[in-house]
Symmetry: C2
Subunit: 159 residues, 2 copies
DNA sequence: TGACTAACGTTTGCTCCACGAACGTTAGCA
DNA sequence: TGCTAACGTTCGTGGAGCAAACGTTAGTCA
């Protein structure tokens, strides 16, 4: 993700935002490699996991639960349906909707991906002690909660 | 960067790789907004900063110093040259090279971007105490050093 | 009943960042 | 004199995230 550097350490390399981006890049690469070794990608995992957690649902609902944009949801469901990991059936009660559900093969794939993902977390945090790992996730959570104020699900006033 | 979530907290939301990616997304957004408010982007800042730190240089050298791919360097120099922030002059000693150098306007723009960037760091780390900020960057650095082994600049055996 | 509104699924396209392949030009070396 | 390698440039790829538009379908209200 990065080219060979000549000697001078660039001035931005100490910035938290840069460290964060670089480290996230490594994490993304690790997870991506782990997933693609089983023929999947991030969206696939998120959709499969959401399906197992929430049960069959329409694409729009799945998008809201998984944070996958509707535009991307279409392709994701297509991919998984092509592989027989997921089924797309018209909702008899509402012909606008497609009900997407997990197949046994999809559930097995999800098991594999869960395992891979756990391995990747370990590889990602390899240089940290258990205490440091806890600190790290705590700090990240704190930041994330802060920056998700008002952006995540601002509407609790529905009617 | 994220859609409204329905109630169920997804199973991947506690994973360090996810927290990292989300937080990095926020950081990226913050910095991107800060930069674009002054009509710049990440590559622009990196090139300007590299020019101030290393002095005028060929595009290839700048690419190596800043981690910007040569392909993207072309467009970046074009952008900045169009705005008069940078000058591209043929190297009289080597007609393959373009010597890129910073103009006074470019230096002023760099000042602005430096200021913006510092503000963004502060906004990013807002919920953390000074000690926590130090912990955070230390942990990130540790992870980054670890994952950059062998990828960053493996060649010290140049002749 | 009819009309309006809103949700759904889909397609298309855009942004940013990061790479790879190819090609013409130019230096440097044997 | 050639060969090799570096340089700059163009074109194209990819993932992740998002926005706009459009046809279809449901629900609601006059």
């Amino acid at each position: 993700m990065e080219n060979p550097r000549e000697k001078t350490p660039a001035r931005w390399e100490g910035m938290p935002s840069w460290l964060l981006g670089q480290t996230a890049g490594h994490a993304h690469r690790l997870v991506g490699e782990g997933f693609s070794a089983v023929g999947a990608r991030g969206y696939h995992y998120r959709l499969l996991a959401t399906l197992e957690d929430s049960g069959p649902a329409s694409q729009a609902t799945l998008g809201r639960c998984s944070g996958i944009h509707l535009s991307d949801m279409v392709a994701t469901v297509n991919d998984l349906a092509d592989g027989g990991l997921v089924e797309r059936a018209p909702d008899p009660a509402d012909r606008r909707r497609n009900i997407v559900s997990l197949t046994p093969a999809g559930r097995r794939q999800l098991r594999r991906l869960d395992r891979r993902l756990a391995e990747c977390q370990d590889e990602l945090l390899a240089p940290l002690s258990p205490e440091e790992r806890q600190q790290f996730t705590d700090l990240l959570s704190k930041l994330l909660v802060h920056h998700n104020r008002g952006t995540d699900a601002p509407e609790e006033r529905w009617s």
